[in-house]
C-alpha cells in the first residue's frame, strides 16, 4: 500500500474511532456526577489509566502476545472467582461485595479509557497491514461500543455515579434510546468514515503503485454501488435477510468457484 493512501486510511479509521470517544470523555469530564466519588473508585480509575499509559508509552509492552495483553488489561476479572472462592471458604460476603464494586468501577473506567487504546491498536494494525480477519471485526466492535457509550451517556448522564457509566451503557443496550441529535451526527459521520476506511483497506491491500491502486479502488466503488442497488431494489425485510443471507450466498459461491480445477 502506498504511504499516502495508507495514511489517509489510517487517519480516517483513527478519526472514526477517536471522535466518539473524545465526545464521551468530554461529557464525562463535564458531568461532575460521573466523576469518581471516593478514593476507591479513583484508585480503580487510576489503575486502568496508568496501565493504558504504560502500554502506550513502552513499545516493548506492545509487543506482548495477545494472551499477555488481554491479561494485562482485563486480568482484574480474575478477582471475581477468587473473591467467590474466599467467600465460600470463609462464609463472609464482604470479599465478594468488594470484588463486585471493583469490577463495576473497572468496567466504567474501561469504557472511558480503553476505546482510546483500541483506536491506537487498530490504527497500528492498519499501518502494519495486519490481517483483515483481525482489523475488520476489531474496528467494528470498538466503534460500536464507543458509540453505544456515547449515546447512552448523552441520553442518561444526569443522575449516575462513576459506576453509572457502565449502568448507562447497559441501559442503552436493554432499552435503546433515541440519541441526542449531536450524538447521532457524530456516530453517523464516524460510522460512514469508518465504513469507507475499512472498505478501502480491505480492497486496496498491498498495492505498490498508483497504477494498481486505481483499479482496486474503482472495484471497491463498484462493490459499494452494487450494495446500494441491492438495498434500493429489495423491500426492507430485516437486516438478516437483506444483508446476512446474500453475503453468505456470495461467500459460498466464491468458495465453490475457488475450488474448481
Amino acid at each position: 500500500m502506498k504511504g499516502g493512501t495508507q495514511d489517509v486510511l489510517m487517519g480516517g479509521a483513527l478519526l472514526a474511532l477517536v471522535l466518539p470517544w473524545a465526545a464521551t470523555t468530554l461529557i464525562w469530564l463535564g458531568t461532575p456526577l460521573l466523576a469518581p466519588s471516593d478514593l476507591f473508585q479513583f484508585a480503580v480509575f487510576a489503575l486502568v489509566f496508568s496501565r493504558t499509559m504504560l502500554y502506550l508509552g513502552f513499545p516493548r509492552l506492545r509487543k506482548l502476545s495477545w494472551g499477555a495483553s488481554v491479561i494485562l488489561f482485563s486480568g482484574d476479572f480474575l478477582m471475581l472467582p477468587a473473591a467467590a472462592a474466599v467467600s465460600l471458604v470463609t462464609g463472609s460476603q464482604s470479599q465478594l461485595a468488594f470484588a463486585s464494586s471493583y469490577i463495576a468501577s473497572w468496567f466504567s473506567a474501561s469504557l472511558l479509557i480503553y476505546p482510546a487504546v483500541a483506536a491506537f491498536v487498530i490504527a497500528n494494525a492498519l499501518r502494519q497491514k495486519a490481517r483483515l480477519v483481525f482489523v475488520l471485526p476489531a474496528a467494528v466492535c470498538s466503534f460500536t461500543i464507543t458509540a453505544l457509550v456515547l449515546v447512552a451517556m448523552g441520553s442518561t448522564a444526569a443522575s449516575q455515579g462513576f459506576t453509572g457509566v457502565l449502568g448507562a451503557a447497559l441501559a442503552g443496550i436493554r432499552h435503546p434510546v433515541l440519541p441526542p441529535e449531536w450524538a447521532l451526527v457524530i456516530t453517523t459521520f464516524c460510522g460512514a468514515v469508518l465504513f469507507v476506511s475499512l472498505a478501502a483497506y480491505a480492497v486496496v491491500g498491498r498495492s505498490d503503485t498508483d497504477k494498481e491502486l486505481a483499479p482496486k479502488l474503482s472495484l471497491g466503488v463498484a462493490g459499494a454501488f452494487g450494495l446500494l442497488v441491492w438495498i434500493l431494489a429489495l423491500p426492507r425485510v430485516g437486516p438478516v435477510l437483506t444483508l446476512g443471507v446474500p453475503t453468505l450466498v456470495i461467500i459460498s459461491v466464491l468458495w465453490v468457484a475457488s475450488r474448481e480445477s
Binding site: R131, L198, L219, L243
Partner: protein, 364 residues
Amino acid sequence: MRLTERGRDYLLAVLLLETVGLAIGASLFAALALALAFTALISLVLLKLRVSSSLDISTNESRIRLFKHQEGRLTLTLRGKRDRWTSPKVESVAFDGAVETRVLADGEDYVVRVKPLKAGRFAGFRIHVGLSDVIGLFSVRRRVVLEQVVMDSLPISLLSRAGAERTFPVIIGEIPAGYPGKGQEFYGIETYSEHSESRDILWKRAANSPHRPLLARVREANSPESVSIMVAHGEIGEESRADCIDIQCEALGSLGGTLLANGVEAVIVGPDGVSRPAKTEEELADAIMETSGVGVAAVRGEIRTGELGILVAVGDLPGNAMAYLGRRPVVFVGNKRRHPLDRYSVDFTGAEDLSRVVGLVLAG
C-alpha cells in the same frame, strides 16, 4: 482456480464482519460486509473473463551455455496481459532436468537465476504463471513451456583440459607420436623378439657379429588425424538418465579434450549414428551437447562399430554387444558391470583420468 492467502483472509473477515455486524445490531457494518462480498464477486468475474486469454512470455536469449555448477541469468518478460484487472506473476520456473532455478522480480521483468547441477542439454523451459484478480483474492495457475529455450550445461572435464600442455606436436603430414608403433620413422633399437618384423632386423650388424643377439629397428607410431568416440546407449532407467548423460558428457569432454590437446581431431558419433567432428574446443562442446540431447530409445540395443576408436557405453549394453567391440577401449558409464574390465576398458564415474584410454588408441 484457488483462493490466495489474502483471499482466505478476506472471505473469513467478511464472514466475521457480517456475523458481528448482525449480532450487535450494527447494520452499517453488515452492509460493509455485503459490499466487500460484491467487490470480491466482481473481481472473480473479471478474472474468469480474462483467464482464457493467451500469455505472451519471452526470454532475452533462447540458448544459455554454462559450465556445470556455474550460475547464469535469464530475463523473462511477460507481455500483453498486464492489464488493469488481472496481474500475472511468474511463480516458478524449471527445466527438464537437474537445473536449479530461482525467480527474482525485477520491475516489469523477472530475472531467473539458473544453475545446472548436471552436464547435458536441457530443453523445455517450464514457467508457472499465477494469474490473480485485481484485489489478489483468487489465483489461477497456468503452465507455459518454452520449447525453444535450451540450456547447455558443459562438462567440467572440458575446463580441466583447456590449455593443457600438448604432448604431441602438430606437423604437416604424418604426426610422429613419440612412442613405438607402426609408422615409418625410426624410433630406436631393441633385441629381436617374436613380435618384431623380420624386415626390421639390422642385418648388417648381425653379419658383423653373428654370435650376438639379433637387433631390430623400432619404428615410431604415427598419431591418427582423427579418432572416433562412439556413444552407445543400452538400457537406461528414466530415473538415472540425467546421471548417465552427465557422466557421458564428462567422459566425452575428457576424451575429446585429451585428443584435441594432442592435436588429434575428435569425431563424436552419437547413438543416432551422426558423426560430429570437432577440431576446436568450441566444436567439441557443440558435439557433446548435441550428443547429449539425442534420445535414448531410438538406438536402444544397437551398437555400431564402424570406424570405432573409443566406445563410450552408457547404460547396460545388450548381451552380445561385447562381441562387436574387439580389442577396443571401452569407457563404461552407468553400467552394472556385466562385462569384466580389462586393460582396454574403464569404469567411468565422472572423475577418473581417461588419458590412458586415449594413449591406447593413439598407440594403435
